[in-house]
Assembly symmetry: C2
Homo-oligomer: 355 residues x 2
C-alpha cells in the first residue's frame, strides 16, 4: 500500500449541521450519525477518488452481491478528545491492517492507505465538533466495504464501495454483564472466517444471542466448534480470565478476531508487571477455578465495550458468580488504557495518533 498524499479527497459540505439536535448525554450506541460520510468506489480494478459528502441514503441494485452473498467487512474504532481539544485516534494502523486482512479473506480488494487512513483523518477532522470531551465520550468510527456489483451468481463482485460513517457514542455495555458459555452454537469454523471482521460472522450470532438474552445473559462466551471445550471470545470482545494472580487470554487463530484492545491490554499488563499468559483456557478449568475460588475475574475487551467486567457465568445449567473485587485488574487496566486514549497519561507505546 502506498501513502501518496497528493491523492485528493473531494469534500462536499452539508448545508446545515444536525449536531444541535443530538442529546450527547443520552446516546444509544450506533444510532446517530454525524453530518458527513466518506464514499469511495472500486470499479474496473481500481479505486476511484474518495468523496466526503452529506450523510445520506444511497441507491443500490437489488441483485447487489452484498445482499445475496454477504461480501461485506468492517472496522470499529474510536476518536477521543483531550483536555486541549485535540482529537486522537488509537492505533488506527492496526485497524487498517486488519481491514485489509479481512478484505483478502473475503476476496475483496484491499483499501490503500491514502484512502483508508487519509480518508479517516480527513472526515474525523471535519467532524471534530462531534467528538466530546470527558472520559467515556467518543466518536465511534465505522469504515466498511460492501460488494455493490450486480448478479445472483455466487462469485466475488467486481465492484465495491468503501465507506466511513461516524457515530457519537458512550461506552457500549451498561450494567452488569452475565455471560453464558456456548455448549451447542458456535461463531466460527476451523478454516472459516472467524478471524475476519466479516459481516456474516455477526448475524450468525444473533439467534443464539437472543436465546441467551431470554435466559438473562448479555453475552455468550464462544467455545471452539469442534469440542466446545476451549474458551474463545465473546460477540464483539476478546475475553480475559484471571485465575489466582495470572491473566489468561486465548491465542488468536483462524477462529478468533485479533482484537486491538486485546493486544493493548496484553502489552499494558506486561508493562504493569501483571502476570499474563496467552493460552487457551478450558471450560473445565474455568469451572474448577470457579469452584475452588481461584477464579478472580473475567472481563471482555473491545473497542466498543472498552473493558467490561463480567459478574458471573452460566455453564450446563449452573451459574457461577464471581467474587466482588475492590481494585480489580480489569478496572486497573481499563484506567491505564483510557488515560492513554484521552492523553491523560504518557503514551510510551506510541499508540495515539493526532488528527
Amino acid at each position: 500500500m502506498t501513502s501518496i498524499n497528493t491523492h485528493e479527497i473531494d469534500i462536499v459540505k452539508a448545508k446545515t449541521s444536525k449536531i444541535d439536535s443530538v442529546d450527547f448525554e443520552n446516546l444509544t450506541f450506533g444510532n446517530v450519525f454525524t453530518d458527513h460520510m466518506l464514499v469511495c468506489d472500486y470499479k474496473d480494478g481500481a479505486w476511484e477518488k474518495p468523496i466526503i459528502k452529506p450523510y445520506e441514503h444511497f441507491m443500490i441494485d437489488p441483485s447487489a452481491k452484498v445482499f445475496h452473498y454477504g461480501q461485506a467487512i468492517f472496522e470499529g474504532m474510536k476518536a477521543y478528545k483531550d483536555e486541549n481539544d485535540e482529537v486522537w485516534l488509537f492505533r488506527p494502523d492496526q485497524n487498517m491492517e486488519r481491514f485489509n486482512k479481512s478484505a483478502v479473506r473475503m476476496a475483496m480488494p484491499e483499501v490503500p492507505e491514502h484512502i483508508f487512513m487519509d480518508g479517516l483523518k480527513t472526515i474525523v477532522d471535519l467532524e471534530r465538533n462531534w467528538v466530546k470531551k470527558g472520559i467515556g465520550n467518543t466518536l465511534y468510527l465505522r469504515p466498511f466495504m460492501i460488494a455493490v456489483g450486480s448478479g445472483v451468481i455466487a462469485q466475488p463482485s467486481t465492484q465495491y464501495r468503501f465507506m466511513i460513517i461516524l457515530s457519537p457514542a458512550k461506552s457500549y455495555y451498561q450494567g452488569e454483564v452475565k455471560v453464558i458459555i456456548a455448549e451447542h452454537y458456535s461463531r466460527a469454523a476451523n478454516g472459516g472466517i472467524g478471524a475476519a471482521k466479516a459481516a456474516g460472522n455477526y448475524s450468525a450470532q444473533f439467534y443464539p444471542q437472543k436465546l441467551a438474552q431470554e435466559k438473562g445473559f448479555q453475552q455468550i462466551i464462544w467455545t471452539d466448534d469442534a469440542t466446545h471445550t476451549k474458551l474463545e471470545e465473546a460477540g464483539t470482545m476478546n475475553v480475559f480470565f484471571k485465575i489466582n494472580d495470572t491473566l489468561y487470554t486465548a491465542p488468536t487463530s483462524e477462529r478468533i478476531l485479533d482484537g486491538v484492545t486485546r493486544k493493548s491490554i496484553i502489552d499494558l499488563a506486561k508493562s504493569e508487571g501483571i502476570k499474563i499468559e496467552v493460552r487457551s483456557v478450558l471450560v473445565d478449568e474455568l469451572v474448577a477455578a470457579a469452584k475452588d475460588g481461584s477464579l478472580k475475574e473475567i472481563f471482555g475487551a473491545g473497542t466498543a465495550a472498552v473493558v467490561s467486567p463480567i459478574v458471573g457465568f452460566q455453564y450446563k445449567e449452573h451459574y457461577y458468580e464471581l467474587p466482588k473485587i475492590e481494585n480489580s485488574t480489569a478496572l486497573q487496566l481499563k484506567d491505564k488504557l483510557t488515560k492513554i486514549q484521552y492523553k491523560l497519561a504518557d503514551d510510551k507505546f506510541g499508540w495515539t495518533v493526532k488528527v
Copy 2:
C-alpha cells in the same frame, strides 16, 4: 403461516418491456433480470402489503444492518415452461419452508405463505413470457430478505425487506467439472449457520474458491471443519458418490444445506430401484475407491446446476480421474428429474405446481 388469498398484492406494471433486448441463447447466469420485482417491507413487527413494480435500484441507509452484520437470506428456485406454454414451479413449498428455517436461524421474521407463495406465483405469472420453452431454459427465481434497519450495533434489525427478483437462465455449469477436496478451509461450523441459506455462507467460500480455480478446479468439495475427513457438499450443490453399484450422499446436518434437488434425487433413485444410502463418505474411503476402481461416479445436485457430473477430484496434490461412463446414473437421474420439471413425464410425486 396462514394462506389467506384475500390478501392483495399491488401491481405497478413497467411501461415497456426489455425482453426484446435479451439474447436468450447466450445468457450468463444471474445477470439479466425481468421487468418486475416484488417488494414487501417488515416494520413494527408486521409485514406490509407486497408490491410488484418495475425492477429498479432502491434507496438504503449506509448503516443498514445487512451491510454491517450480514443479516440476509435467500432462496434459489426455477420456473419451467411445458410444451403447452404452461408455467410450472418445482416443489416451491420446500423452498418456502427452508427460507423460513433460515429466517429463524438468522433471527429474522418468517415470511408468511400469502406473501412468499402467492407473491411468487403472481410475479412469475406476470413474467411468463420470460420463461422459454425447451429443456435447459428456465426462469431462475430469487426470493431474498435483507435487514434494512439502521444502526451499527450488533443486534438483529427491526426492519426487513423481502424481495423476489427473476433472471432467465440456462443451466449453471458448463464444461467439465473438476473438484478439489478441502483440506484446510471450511464453509460451516458445528453449531453454525451452514444449514441456512444465509448470505454470509457464500462470501466465506470466495477466497478458497479463487485458490481452487487458480489451480484449475471449478468447485471445492467441503469437508467437516473439525477433522476434514468427511465429505460434505460443494458451494451450491449437494454431492453424490457412486461406489460399486450404490449411491451415497451425506446426511443433512447443521453444516449442510438440505437441498431440494438432493432430496428429489434420493426419492427418484429409490423409485428407479437404484441403491442409495444416506451416510457420510470419508475422504479416505473415496481415495481408496478411486484407487481400486470401485468409484464409478461423483456428481453435484442443486437447482442452478441441476445434476452436474464431476470428471475427477484432487486430494493432497494428487488428481484422481473418474472413469468415463456411457449411461451414467447421474445423467439417468438428471433425465428423470428434468422430464418431471418440464412435464414430459408423469409427476407421480406431485412435485410440480402450476402457476
